[in-house]
Subunit: 358 residues, 2 copies
Amino acid sequence: MRRRDLLLGGAIACSVGAIAGAPAVLASKKFRWRMVTSWPPNFPVFQTGAERFAKQVYAMSGGRLSIKVFAGGELVPPLGVFDAVSQGGMQMGHSGAVFWAGKAPATQFFSSIPFGMTGQQMNAWLYYGGGLELWNEVYAPFNIVVFPACNTGVQMGGWFNKKIGAMADFGGLKMRIPGLGGKVLSKVGVNVVLLPAGELYMALERGVIDAVEWAGPYHDLQIGFHRAARYYYYPGWHEPGSAIELLVNRKAWESLPKDLQTIVSVAAAQSNLLGLSEFDAKNGLALNDLVTKYNVRVLQFPAEIIRALHKLSAETLEQIAAQDPMFSKVYSSFKTFAGKIDAWTEIGEKAYMEAPGG
Amino acid sequence: MRRRDLLLGGAIACSVGAIAGAPAVLASKKFRWRMVTSWPPNFPVFQTGAERFAKQVYAMSGGRLSIKVFAGGELVPPLGVFDAVSQGGMQMGHSGAVFWAGKAPATQFFSSIPFGMTGQQMNAWLYYGGGLELWNEVYAPFNIVVFPACNTGVQMGGWFNKKIGAMADFGGLKMRIPGLGGKVLSKVGVNVVLLPAGELYMALERGVIDAVEWAGPYHDLQIGFHRAARYYYYPGWHEPGSAIELLVNRKAWESLPKDLQTIVSVAAAQSNLLGLSEFDAKNGLALNDLVTKYNVRVLQFPAEIIRALHKLSAETLEQIAAQDPMFSKVYSSFKTFAGKIDAWTEIGEKAYMEAPGG
């Protein structure tokens, strides 16, 4: 604590000392920023992750970049984050690219797509397969610089109040499922609803929706879906590795000196890793609680349903690609990379997970 | 560039300005450190990752912490890294915990153990399951503070000059395979050899060893094992997710102000994520080259071999745990966590990877 005080004192002395040498004052210029998120207050991993990110940046910058984090609805609505950062009212946002399909269909690749890559594969594509460059290209017209800042890993397939034994069982369901997964299910008669996290439980409990998917066991247990639905399906075919995004207004970004820019980008990568790690560590425990304490029925989608959804998903992606050049460009990169990494996953991760004797 | 120059100028002015206010000089104190590694010069992902880490720390600290990175053998031998950092001759090291089994058997859990956790699971344990605290506890008597700084992901099972069709085929092989994997194979007649990366190819090519495992296709192709052995086996039962470590001498660590400590720990996490992502992105391409350009035969260990190795591995772990209390303590944490996370991986990642229609 004492060293920390001295350090802060040093920064102040520094600012004063530097004034004599005109432009040197840059080194100790202080930035006070605001970050808005799409998550409820204290929402684990997402909101707490955004807050830890802000804390780390503050510590690494010796207090020169302080970011005050606001939950969804505190300053702007949960789904108003993108616009707020795009217009510059807020310097930073923490949200999910899947929510902005209405602005540019290609955004959806940067959360997760049906039968797409897992969280680990997504990171390989984003950092080493050109994915992050494409993401920034898609967001450039909106004056937003973007970084991956968390990943849910493979999600669950959703909560239902009746068993899903055949494709016909989807017909007439009112379900919260965003993005391309929703688009696919709408083709088999699902009425797709888009709601932010904070409104999901009430909607399910009051029958505004019959089914819902959010993320995995840890989040879903926190929200309490098990009190309003009984059947919990897997695998999460529609979101096998959803990235969560850190948005930065471009003008704000460009106002940062290089050291603070590096601090932001490195802290975002740390958040990305810690988020996936936290989900992985806590999903198992939550799943166990859901089954043993709350009698949730964990069921696997029948193979013929998965096959049909896979076919529909591929058709849906091709249809949008035929209409939207940027979607087509990103899809091409995504598909090519996925093909290559799958060949490795097959004899790497998958073969290991399937090894007998475990 | 100009802003960067101004910034550095600012730091210098700052130091001068701060001297008036005695202890404030701490804020701009400069640290010039050396990091020694166990890797050959320019060795991809490991050595290049250590160098990127140093660059990021330099950028984030505005030049206050500069780390000069030396490859294995440049200042100390590849396997002398731990001692050099422990004794304080070097402030930092970049290596693998598996190499220090002779100092404390428990170190091996912090690379990877036979039939242990995958890279993603390892990160969940290290960051959210108490693993990193245990790692630091194991290294504390050596005056070393440790961070995970890379992960190979699931490795391959190794290169062989003959087919491995039954357990008897291991008998009499001279094989480079470190850690517990080596201990297990020594029980079935393998003569286990421990050599650093830079000496492996020559040893295999000259027949000093008959078989070798290093990591995965990307590294293995770089080293050139395919020119000296024909059969490339999977899965990597012995190292399903090897962490790579950043070592920091404790006294050096404690000399850093809090902001630089945070910069080091956050940059290590970024390196960890980028390392695994880079391996995942490049292993697929390398595997494809090995098969199509170099006619390597990629073969799966027969199920009965995997079953037998699994049984031998469990026995080996129990035996060491019975003799070494710290090993036993870490093993207990590892095993408990692995059991819980496996239940989630089973219906998460694994069920998704096995979903039909892909």
